[in-house]
Structures are given as structure tokens and as C-alpha cells.
């Protein structure tokens, strides 16, 4: 049975093009469906344009959700990327 999993992070920096790209590249490697929610808007984490379209900024709470065979691994990996790539000066 496919698992679903989600986790939250508070962004340390804005979700600009490069972090959005890193997130979408990583998300695309998982079999699970993965989404990112910020301020009530949800985007497919595998769509870089969708993630950029969220316009998520520093201090916002982001939820990463996944459903599928590698849901937990996907969420863990994407939360790590969000923490790393949105660091100030990162």
C-alpha cells in the first residue's frame, strides 16, 4: 500500500529560481507524487515553474507532502534541500 507522509519547514530564505530548481530536480527522482504547499497554495514539487509560482519567501511555513512507495524518503530529502538552499547567502 502506498504510504503518505508530510513534514513542515520554515524557510530561512526566499524560494528563488535556484532553490526551486534544486527541489524540482530532486523531487523528479522519486516515484511518489510530491507536493509543496505555502500559504494555502499547492504546487507539484516536480514542476520547477509551479514551485517558483508559489512565491514563497523567508519565514513562511512550507509543507512538503508525498504519497507513494518512497514518500518518506522524498519528504526527508526535499526538506533537507529546502533547509540547505534557502539559507541566507546560500
Amino acid at each position: 500500500m502506498p504510504a503518505s507522509y508530510e513534514q513542515q519547514i520554515t524557510l530561512a530564505g526566499d524560494l528563488h529560481a535556484r532553490p526551486a530548481g534544486a527541489l524540482a530536480v530532486a523531487a523528479g527522482r522519486f516515484a511518489s507524487a510530491v507536493s509543496v504547499t505555502a500559504s494555502g497554495s499547492t504546487a507539484d514539487a516536480k514542476s520547477v515553474l509551479g514551485v517558483m509560482g508559489l512565491g514563497a519567501t523567508s519565514g513562511q511555513h512550507i509543507t512538503v507532502s508525498a504519497a507513494g512507495p518512497d514518500a518518506r524518503e522524498a519528504v526527508t530529502a526535499l526538506i533537507a534541500i529546502l533547509g540547505e538552499t534557502t539559507k541566507v547567502g546560500g
Partner: protein, 133 residues
């Protein structure tokens, strides 16, 4: 990082600078693991497109997984079509009907994630539905 080759991208623009800029942006956003070739301008550096540049781009971008080509405006499509007509039918090339900048970024990110040629072309074409505001 997967060992399998990524789909290559060729950006065909009337402007050499536009093709190069879009290639640079797409490379930065996708992490620099995908081959992106800028094929912009005419052979003598004017605004326009060049079959020779497109042909060269297709060769340089192919690393075993196929190539997705994005034209910017109408007559770039004609140039790409003319080149593809002369290609070996076994050549694995798809032209995507997509907004140039958004399509280049979306296609390259999908290629970097290991998407196949169909997925990469689809990501480019879906870019027209992505809202910025």
C-alpha cells in the same frame, strides 16, 4: 546522481544573446548537469536562425538519451523542421511547442531529474500553463 545520460536541450533563438542567456539560466536553475546548447542568430551573427547552428547543436547535445529542441519564434520552427527533415530518421529528436524561457527551464530541470525525452518535451509544453502571478 544517476549514471544514465540525460536528455540534451537545444535552444534555437533569433538572437544569439537570448539563446545564450536562456541556456545560462536553465543551467543555473537545474544544477548544471544537463547539456544545453545555444543555437542563436545567423551564421554571420545577425538576428535570425541558422540551420548549421541547429545541426551542430543537435550533435553536441546528444549523449544517448535524445534531444529536445525549443524554437523561440515562428521562423525558428521552419529552420528546425528543415534540419530535422535531413536528419537520419533514427535520430531521437523532438521539437517542443513551448514558451522559450519557461520551457527551457522546465525541460532542463526534468532532464536533470532523469526524465526521458517524452517527459522532457512534455515538461516544456506544460510550461505554457504555469502562471507567474
Amino acid at each position: 546522481m544517476s549514471a544514465a545520460p540525460a536528455v540534451g536541450i537545444v535552444l534555437v533563438s533569433h538572437s544569439a544573446e537570448l539563446a545564450q542567456g536562456a541556456a545560462h539560466l536553465a543551467a543555473q536553475v537545474s544544477g548544471g548537469t544537463v547539456t544545453i546548447i545555444a543555437a542563436g542568430g545567423t551564421d554571420d551573427g545577425e538576428l535570425g536562425t541558422s540551420a548549421a547552428k541547429v545541426e551542430r547543436g543537435l550533435r553536441l547535445a546528444e549523449s544517448g538519451a535524445g534531444v529536445v529542441v525549443l524554437p523561440d519564434l515562428g521562423s525558428a520552427v521552419l529552420t528546425v523542421r528543415a534540419v530535422l527533415e535531413d536528419e537520419d530518421p533514427a535520430t531521437n529528436v523532438v521539437m517542443a511547442d513551448a514558451p522559450f524561457v519557461e520551457g527551457a527551464v522546465a525541460a532542463t530541470v526534468t532532464a536533470a531529474a532523469g526524465g526521458d525525452i517524452k517527459a522532457v518535451a512534455a515538461a516544456a509544453e506544460e510550461a505554457r500553463n504555469a502562471r507567474k502571478l
